[in-house]
Amino acid sequence: MKTVIVVGNGMVGYKFCEKFRAHPANAAFKLIVFGEEPRPAYDRVHLSEYFGNQDAKALELAPASWYSDNNIDLITNERVTDILNETQEVRTISGKSFSYDYLVLATGSAPFVPPIKGVEKEGVFVYRTIEDLEEMLSYAAQIKAIKPDGRAAILGGGLLGLEAGKAVLDMGLEPHVVEFAPKLMPRQLDTRSSNVLQLKLESMGIQIHLGKATNQILGESVIEGMDFGEDDQLDVDMLIISAGIRPRDELGKTCGLDMGTRGGIVVNNKMETSIPNIYAIGEVALYNQMIYGLVAPGYDMANVAANQILGNPEVLMPADIDMSTKLKLMRVDVASFGTPYMPAEKGLSIIYENKTKHLYKRINVSHDGKTLLGGILVGDANDYNILHQMYLNNMSLPENAEELIVGARGDGGSAFGSAMDLPDTAQICSCESISKGKICGSIKEGACNSLKDVIGLTKATTGCGGCKPMVVDLVNETLKSMGKEVKDVICEHFEYTRQELYGIVKVKNIQTFDEALDKCGKGDGCEVCKPALASIFATIYNDTANKEAVIQDSNDRFLANIQRNGSYSVVPRIPGGEITPEKLIVIGEVAKEYNLYTKITGGQRIDLFGAELNDLPAIWKKLIDAGFESGHAYGKSLRTVKSCVGSTWCRYGMDESVSFAIELEDRYKGLRSPHKLKGGVSGCIRECAEARGKDFGVIAVDGGWNLYVCGNGGATPKHAILLAEQIDNETVIKYLDRFLMYYIRTAAPLMRTAAWLDKLEGGIEQLKRIVVDDSLNLAEELEIEMQSLVDKYECEWKQAVECEEMKKRFSHFVNTEERDDNMVFVPMRDQKMPEPWTN
């Protein structure tokens, strides 16, 4: 058995192990890996995340057990100090020797510390390892304790320096990035894009100082500031140096390997050094007289070296290394590809700049306008994948190349055509090296039939996931080209979209879930299709959730929201948020009687938590007797129409927002829909009701109401978009009837209005045509349907408390009056809460 020793357990060293052990011929080799850091290889690219969560494990590329599972001896905390190439041995700092047949040097790099006077002072750090970060964190904490407005500078405005800037921000100090060059990320950006990025970063609280040469570090023994000469100084309490890297090539020097004049171990396209059986990969390797400080070329090198050792000599490093990069710096997209900037004699550029939105896009095209040479994207890198592919594959440009970055005029379409235009060789998933041909082929050859199949077979999208949109497009387009329809079917029991199922139920007059299964489904149903059909029945027949309780989502079945310990919450409707003192007292009395936790909700009503299932009917009986109705807080249905106080009281109000909100809430209460619905009415453009954060929002303006639709808060907040201007109350209701009914008919299950509008072909313009211009000739039908739902409204809690049979549903045990003794409450701020979960 032959022995391979890998010196260095960083990202590239790890990738070598992974590629090596994945190869079919690997079993004949023993693999020993040395790492000088105390822990196994981690993701240095995302190092700054450590400041956010301080979770070193989360950064690990693989746990220590992975190495033993894969028959790799991982020796951490042990630096290799000598290579004895005559005898093919390495020696470590603790004096141990190990023989090798092949040696792979993946020692990486160290931060370059420029020879500035005073750089040894306390408070000056480098940014490379988790240990560096831990030291920085404790130092920053000391500073903050004595000086809450402390500052930290970062020397270097490159990729890593800006990452460090984020880290400083996370530590709670004021970050100052100091760069010698006149622009940020000098290798990737031109001056204009640097300016745009600078504006954006400054708006986030990161100060940028360009064109500054640091003369010395000020302070006695501890850093107090930086001196740039000519009386130009910056007071700082801490400095992080991120001014580039130097290869860790000392092993190469001592054993006589050929070295570059400025460091780095010289390698050929097989990753071989000047001594047989010794390879170098990653940031220590000097290839094409260059050190590549990016992870992608490092991974390629790891793959080449592994293949060379395992007997595949045809796997070679390409002559041209793609230096394209795309990253998110503090949620700002920054990408550059090919030659990002060039003089006019080499190519011509098309530039789009919008400083108000911190956007910059530049592409460089050849003089004949036919090929893409490179480009820069700041603020929005959505088009990076496809531009990068066009560049890599030398694809011909469209006639109006500017459409690549500003979008085609007219219908908002894209100039790219589709991902299908790429050649088969185009690499779609660069993490797993999956080409377009492989993805489409897996479907054409019959091995795969869906996105899930393709991901399972090829592993595409399983790395960084950045290629997912392209893979989805390729899969869908390929299936379509083969005549297979791609659609979002509900689940394994119904091979239809929600919209299709809605049509079938209506036409066949299907009344129950079992009937639906028998007429157009298969099997027994599940937790996905049951509530979907319940919602469809509710839309067509406006039955309440009581009709077929067992197909309702759990909350609808018990007409209450289940909470952490299995107790429920009770939310009576308070239309528009308007309530009398008498009703407030009733809520208070009920809450006291049943010992409920009370809280004001975001929808201007009152939530009563901690009710036991058995008590729900009695609680609701009391509320209903006092004039309350179900608030449908548990349903995929209208929640609230929030309002501001409007012209009734407010000295700015333009119209009666409360009255209108109550009217709308009363009109649409009980309406079941694909997802929850929220509305808002504001009495003037100050928008105190936050109506534009709702599925529908109405704002009083001079001459009527403006109607906005398809907004939401939540995980992906979206402002509602203007549907119609200066319309009167009747028109608002007419348009809302049409809009809501059209949404309810056509949306997929659990799709809110914003996502629905995104998917709607033609977008808001199309929606305007349907709702306002009645282009589909549907308006009357939609209005009639809505009116019939409004007319049939019944409070489902009233039904439940008045029917003995229905009341049976609300008992924890069916064979005893006892209560659930597993339900535990603990005190909190004069009220109660569920006992916290321990797992």
Partner: protein, 125 residues
């Protein structure tokens, strides 16, 4: 918390020593479930009408240790009868108890029979 989970273990139909008369068949909704109490145990009982069969399992969801499975929704995955927990939609086979959409521990399954309009659940203690 684990101790409460350990109170529930599947009972093999051949080892039943007690057939507990749990409730009337009408106490359990068709194609739905309800909970019965036996000593200190909470048992979820389901009337799976579409398969003309009945199931009994622990009421405790092993995910967050709440007594809620009886309020879950019935269904099938590739023909296997299952229940979806109302808390986070974890699904469990009502035949083997296995967690079908994750790697939670299996839930305990109990033998069940219907006689003269009553539901009986089998225990071995």
């Amino acid at each position: 918390m684990d101790s409460i989970l350990s109170e529930y273990t599947s009972v093999d139909p051949t080892t039943v020593s007690v057939w507990f008369k749990a409730c009337n068949v009408n106490d359990i909704p068709e194609n739905g479930g309800a909970c019965v109490k036996y000593k200190n145990k909470q048992i979820a009982v389901y009337h799976y009408k579409r398969k003309q069969t009945w199931y009994a399992c622990q009421n405790l969801c092993p995910h967050k240790m709440e007594m809620v499975l009886s309020r879950g929704m019935l269904g099938d995955a590739d023909g296997i009868a299952k229940v979806a927990c109302p808390m986070h939609k974890k699904t469990f086979s009502l035949e083997s108890g296995e967690n079908l959409n994750g790697d939670l521990p299996a839930i305990a399954i109990y033998p069940i029979k219907i006689e003269d309009g009553f539901v009986y659940i089998g225990f071995s203690e």
